[in-house]
Amino acid sequence: MTMKKTTLDLWVGLFVAAGLAALLFLALKVGSFSAFEAGKTYTVTASFANIGGLKVRAPVKSAGVVVGRVTDIRFDNTTYEAVVTLSIGHPYKFPTDTTAAIMTSGLLGEQYVALEAGGSEKMLSNGDRIRLTQGAIVLEDLIGKFLYSKAEEGGGGGARPADGP
């Protein structure tokens, strides 16, 4: 059977090419590949007293650069702390005395784990635990502390009008 070229083939070819181009546009211009595929990462855990609104898949950043993702959040029933598993890209090495803190970024207040490198010679490897952690800042606590300190410093501040004439 000999294939005969028809205008129909041309149209279908154009359609398929346009559809694939649209997919390529979506893949390259609109989306981004997750840079941290399984296998090219190592995981470390960190315990926090309070993780605030941290979610699985939240970014792990160091100096503002995304170096990994949060892959798991569990509750430890013996220490009553949250155990967060971080999956960090292989090119990024951190000393064993690295500090992990939960910070807030962006206009919608999404939370991330910030790593601050320490000075140790030894590097973290797969399965290690980060010992130095700082939990999320809870806004209610902050407001409470602020109110207390305000009340203390200006002792009579609130009472003065009542003492007045």
């Binding site: 359609f15 398929v16 346009a18 997919l23 979506l26 609109v30 590949f33 898949r57 206009l107």
Partner: protein, 264 residues
């Protein structure tokens, strides 16, 4: 009074049994279509012809509606985001809603009413004019020769159409957001890229559109194949195709979404 109640109950039961029966037959029809798809591999020209009538002929409606949906998203999104002073997130809003939901779903709804109805009417008329019976007389299996190419043509066209719809919609959002209103172009694209993940968002959208393609074409082909061979029968079958494939798309969309975007 009890008689009317019993008649009502009987009627209702009859309708339910009838629907279950049709569902079973449609499933068997789907299995047969897959089974007889060998012809499509041996004669790819049959599929190319169906890609033309299902895909190429739906291009205009898909591209134009994609553009307008994207432009509306741009306007509406801007109005809402402006209240929070975060107009730059417009790119995220437009891209995510198109890639995850609107692209696959609206493209499939348009595809059902544009290409699905045409498939049903065509096959129904072939049946009414006894062309299907003639094929059987010539020992040509109508499922292999008529149904399977249309099925594969639809299934191949659907994801491409959905991708074109999403791309066109994002372009529409860009036109309104960046060109018309003046949202910062760099922020529009970079925030979009940071928020849209290839596997979680784009690939899941493609999977959705493939599933919708299968659902719509199977319903359209089955309704046509099952239509009573009369003018009225074909017209009813065409209406049923649009109604039931639209409902099926929305129901499947819920099921797929609850699988895909749990806890992300």
């Amino acid at each position: 009074m009890p008689e009317t109640l019993i008649t009502l109950l009987r009627h209702l039961g009859g309708r339910v049994i009838h629907s279950v029966w049709r569902l079973g037959m449609a499933t068997r029809f789907f299995a047969l279509t897959l089974l007889y798809s060998g012809t499509c591999v041996r004669r790819p020209h049959l599929v190319v012809k169906e890609i033309f009538s299902a895909g190429v002929l739906s291009l205009i409606i898909i591209l134009v509606s994609g553009l307008f949906v994207g432009m509306v998203l741009g306007l509406q999104g801007f109005e809402t985001l402006q209240t929070y002073g975060s107009e730059e997130a417009l790119g995220i809003l437009v891209a995510l809603s198109l890639v995850r939901e609107l692209g696959p779903v609206v493209a499939a709804l348009l595809f059902a009413s544009r290409a699905g109805s045409a498939m049903t009417a065509e096959i129904g008329l072939m049946k009414a004019t006894e062309q299907i019976a003639a094929l059987e007389m010539m020992a040509v299996d109508p499922i292999a020769r008529v149904v399977a190419p249309r099925f594969w043509g639809g299934v191949i066209s659907m994801p491409l159409l959905a991708a074109l719809f999403s791309a066109m919609g994002i372009f529409g959002g860009y036109l309104v957001g960046v060109v018309l209103i003046g949202v910062d172009e760099g922020a529009f694209w970079s925030q979009m890229q940071a928020a849209v993940d290839f596997r979680d968002d784009i690939l899941n959208g493609v999977i959705k559109s493939v599933v919708f393609g299968v659902v719509v074409t199977v319903i359209a082909l089955y309704e046509g194949y099952d239509a009573p061979p009369t003018a009225e029968g074909v017209s009813r079958a065409t209406t049923r195709t649009v109604v039931s494939s639209s409902l099926a798309i929305l129901a499947w969309d819920f099921v797929l979404t609850s699988f895909m975007f749990r806890g992300v």
